[in-house]
């Protein structure tokens, strides 16, 4: 825990976004995580993305479960709403919140323990429902908060800090999500904000559920030589599949569409994601191709990163259920609770 709050002094060249806010206005409380934790870097990337998108702080809902990662919503956007749920329940709570108020921007923060062990089922169903939200897994291969036990994302053969190897096969959230119909799947690294920030922005603009798996070294329990989620290992094994560039609506797109290696996908809100695929012929809209590519890379031990898969054509939770366009939260009481007569009428339908 730092000795002081971040000084209020600001750099004179600090820019303001469309709302007149500076980056500093998107900060939260001082982090209590270990110094050097990858999660703090992801927090900084989220702050940058939200600021660049000029999202009003009070229109943001920060959702999380339990874990070092799940503590981080406290460390960004002080002015936002938030819900710190029980372990693994963030996806369920976020689904409910989103159902009740579709007007907020949902930022879900989870860990590999929170999402891939206790919360695995909830996450899968939020993916199936295509709940419109950014869902970040701050993936460090361990349960950081409970002192470094292997999580379900730990690779076979990777070692704990005490030297014991992990023998159980990992769950790769990216492969899992692809296999159950996820519409936005990305992987990045906390130590590469140039890649991470545009991915986060695209994820927030996405029509439905956007999964961003971020390798985020646990500097205290999993940054040693036997780890496959350390700063050094990740840097050595990271393979960029794509470089994504997020272009907000109404901005001019500079690259020529159709260039070799360049694909553009127009998002539901009119913004555009421009991909430059690093390997030739990588197509981020081809689910099967992406699956094969990732499988191949997993076998060679490299970590493929980038905005890996994107499909803007699938309806989200609200569209699927044909809910009203106004948030339930803002609906007049008599419309939301129409009374006994209306209930009786409904019940009649089922007789």
């Amino acid at each position: 825990m730092p000795s002081i709050a971040k000084p209020i002094a600001v750099h004179p060249s600090l820019h303001r976004n469309a709302l007149g806010l500076t980056l500093r206005d998107y900060e939260g409380a001082m982090s209590t995580l270990c110094a050097g934790c990858g999660h703090d870097s992801i927090t900084a990337a989220i702050i940058k993305a939200l600021w660049e998108l000029s999202i009003q702080p009070h229109m943001i809902a920060k959702m999380s479960g339990i874990g070092c990662s799940s503590k981080t919503p406290t460390y960004f956007v002080n002015g936002a709403h938030g819900f710190n749920s029980a372990h693994g329940r963030m996806a369920a709570i976020a689904t409910g919140a989103n159902a009740a108020n579709r007007e907020l921007t949902y930022i879900g923060i989870s860990g590999d323990g929170d999402s891939l062990s206790i919360g695995l089922g909830h996450m899968c169903h939020a993916i199936r429902r295509n709940v419109k939200m950014l869902y970040v897994i701050e993936n460090n291969g361990v349960y950081g908060l409970t002192k470094g036990q292997f999580s379900a994302s730990a690779d076979v053969g990777s070692r704990s800090k005490r030297g014991e190897p992990n023998r159980m096969a990992p769950i790769d959230p990216v492969m899992l999500a692809l296999s159950i119909g996820a519409t936005f799947v990305a992987r990045s690294f906390s130590g590469d904000k140039e890649q991470l920030v545009p991915i986060l922005k695209a994820a927030i603009a996405h029509r439905g559920f956007a999964l961003v798996d971020v390798i985020s070294p646990c500097v205290t329990f999993n940054d040693h030589n036997g780890s496959t989620k350390s700063y050094l290992y990740t840097r050595k094994h990271m393979q960029k599949a794509t470089e994504a560039d997020f272009v907000p609506p109404a901005s001019e797109i500079l690259a020529t569409i159709g260039d070799v290696g360049t694909t553009t996908v127009t998002m539901h809100d009119g913004s555009v994601v421009r991909f430059t695929s690093v390997p030739k012929n990588y197509d981020p809209t081809d689910r099967r191709g992406v699956y094969d590519y990732l499988q191949e890379h997993a076998n060679t031990g490299s970590v493929a990163t980038g905005l890996l898969y994107l499909d803007e054509s699938v309806a989200d939770l609200h569209e699927m259920n044909q809910t009203p366009s106004t948030a339930l939260a803002r609906m007049p009481y008599d419309k939301l609770v129409p009374g006994t007569a209306a209930l009786d009428e409904l019940m009649e339908d089922f007789r």
Partner: protein, 595 residues
């Protein structure tokens, strides 16, 4: 770009903006911390080591440190460095036992100083403890030079001056009052081992325009102020015009106000922003009801029946840069007295040219800027006598440097062999997120100096106007200091490039980026480094990616958060102490700096 060498004392010295700007390199942040701890005596003594006259300077210094202060770039107003110096001087205990003393055993070398101004006194201060016999020849019957004769007592009380000049003279300096040196030749014949000329720039410039010599109501500013000090003048007419708008003009107008002047105008040729007077002096004068009249060039004195009636001016219109002007018309302003405050000159009528000392075309002796030696070995100059009128702190700095030369000269060492500066660098880490300095940023605004009531201050000539900071103001002001001497010291091989330091830095000082040309790197940092006067630190290549850690020193508030968030202690907060060399004392640490 080349990796920065933080082992060179100049690198971190430059980060301590105030200390770098101070001609005597006073350790400002350290004395401010000592004041914060209530250690006024230590704060005073630390000051005294470098600037010799903390009580005097805490009231009168030209304070080049303040415009340089980093705090000004951060929140618009520098730390009140000068006024805090006065706090140390006012609140210190008895320091008699701490003052330097002359050894009983003299070293057999005799040094003569001409003039008892700050320059000569600084020389004596450094040489007496080494065993030199120092003789000072002074024209007047009291010590202090212009500090006594020209700085009015409402700015600098006589008691402060007496105490701080006394601290030096009491070491056993052979001071000869009422002894103007009238011949350099004669002085040299007395066989001194070295001579130091600290005679100042004693001549006020005149203004030879029609009417100048037809009345006795036109005064030369510095002579007039001197006459007040020595009790020869105690009144002035009601309407006074001061010609010129430098520091002397400010003292003249405020003195006039105290001697009966009611309608006092300071006449400036150029517009505001081009005045020589310091902004705070202008403020103080205007507070006392003095008018500053811009764009007026004097053309003649209006004399009627042998009496001064007024003065004629051309009214000027200047271009945007105040370079070229044109005359609009002429006006006559009525007055009873005129004081000329348009500058000072050096004059050395008592140095015989046959001696062969080299003078330049303006009649100034040729003096080496490092050694302060003239073209005659063993004859040194310093203070206003060396390069024309400057100020007290420069006179002191010259005195220290000349003392090193004199010591070398007397010990048979070439004067060009200067002892180098050194440095200490000590970690301030006390534990996890715990530092031995106050690292929090205090948003308090600069404290305003309180002044004696506008009626009361005019009752007597010597009522000190500035009241000094009270305890509460002091407590706030000390916390405004950013501790720029507590440096961010980086060890590249420890860095794992986790970005924690970059993410936490409130001032966007840090960046990890690939190498390039400095000018180009400066454009692609967390925030562009636009202040070319401030260094850009570059590390050796980092172990994991070979990129560089870069730090723009410009706006770092030395909060230590980068070091607190660094998992490997690649960043550490380390206190830098500049080890200054003085005559006979090479690069030694001050006993008043706590480790």
């Amino acid at each position: 770009m080349k990796a920065t060498n933080t082992g060179d004392p100049a690198y971190y010295h430059k980060v301590v903006d105030c200390q770098w700007a101070c001609p005597a390199h006073t350790n400002v942040p350290e004395y401010i911390r000592l004041i914060a701890q209530g250690r006024y005596t230590d704060a005073y003594m630390l000051n005294r080591e470098s600037n010799v006259f903390p009580g005097i300077l805490g009231r009168t210094c030209d304070r080049p440190c303040e415009p340089a202060c980093r705090r000004e770039r951060v929140d618009g107003k520098p730390v009140a460095i000068c006024r805090l110096k006065r706090v140390a001087a006012d609140l210190k205990d008895d320091i008699t036992h701490l003052l330097p003393k002359a050894p009983e055993q003299k070293n057999g070398k005799r040094v003569a100083c001409i003039g008892a101004g700050p320059a000569s006194l600084a020389v004596a201060n450094d040489l007496m403890p080494l065993g030199y016999s120092v003789t000072i020849y002074e024209k007047y019957d009291k010590p202090g030079g212009l500090m006594r004769s020209n700085i009015p007592s409402f700015r600098l009380p006589e008691s402060v001056l007496a105490e701080e000049t006394g601290a030096i003279l009491n070491m056993g300096v052979d001071i000869r009052y009422n002894s103007p040196v009238e011949s350099m030749n004669g002085l040299l014949a007395e066989g001194y081992d070295a001579v130091f000329v600290g005679s100042g720039a004693p001549r006020g410039k005149d203004l030879d325009i029609p009417g100048r010599h037809d009345t006795d109501r036109i005064h030369i500013g510095i002579d007039w102020l001197e006459s007040i000090t020595f009790g020869h003048i105690d009144k002035i007419g009601e309407k006074v015009l001061i010609i010129g708008v430098g520091n002397t003009a400010m003292d003249c107008c405020r003195s006039s106000r105290r001697l009966g002047g009611k309608d006092i105008k300071v006449m400036a040729r150029r517009p505001r922003g081009y005045f020589k007077a310091s902004p705070w002096e202008l403020e103080d004068a205007e507070e006392e009801g003095i008018d500053i009249i811009i764009n007026h060039a004097p053309t003649r004195f209006v004399i009627e029946n042998g009496a001064l009636r007024g003065m004629e001016f051309e009214r000027l219109e200047w271009d945007a840069e105040a370079k070229k002007s044109k005359v609009i018309d002429k006006v006559i302003l009525p007055c009873d007295d005129v004081i000329l405050a348009i500058g000072q000159e050096n004059a050395f009528p008592w140095i015989e040219r046959e001696l062969g000392m080299e003078f330049d075309k303006w009649g100034m002796p040729v003096v080496n800027e490092t050694t302060f030696q003239s073209s005659i070995p063993g004859v040194f100059f310093g203070g206003d006598a060396a390069f024309g009128p400057k100020n007290i702190i420069w006179a002191v700095a010259h005195g220290h440097a000349a003392a090193i030369s004199i010591h070398n000269h007397c010990q048979g060492v070439p004067v060009t062999e200067r002892p180098p500066d050194g440095m200490n660098l000590v970690t301030q880490k006390m534990g996890m997120s715990e530092w031995s300095y106050h690292n929090d940023y205090n948003p308090s605004p600069r404290q305003k100096m309180k002044h004696v009531d506008l009626k009361k201050r005019f009752e007597q000539l010597n009522i000190e106007v500035e009241m000094g900071f009270n305890a509460e103001q002091t407590a706030r002001e000390v916390q405004r200091c950013l501790n720029c001497d507590v440096e961010t010291e980086f060890t590249p091989k420890l860095c794992i490039e986790c970005d924690a330091c970059i993410d936490i830095c409130p001032m966007l000082c840090l960046t990890i980026a690939r190498d390039g040309e400095e000018s180009e790197i400066r454009q692609r940092l967390s925030a562009p480094a636009v202040n070319p006067d401030q260094a850009l630190y570059a590390s050796e290549p980092l172990p994991q990616t070979g990129r560089l850690m870069l730090k723009d020193e410009d706006l770092c508030v030395h909060c230590g958060l980068c070091a607190e968030r660094c998992p490997t202690s690649a960043w550490d907060m380390q206190k830098f102490e500049l080890l200054i060399s003085y005559a006979g004392r090479e690069a030694c640490t001050s006993s008043y700096v706590p480790a």
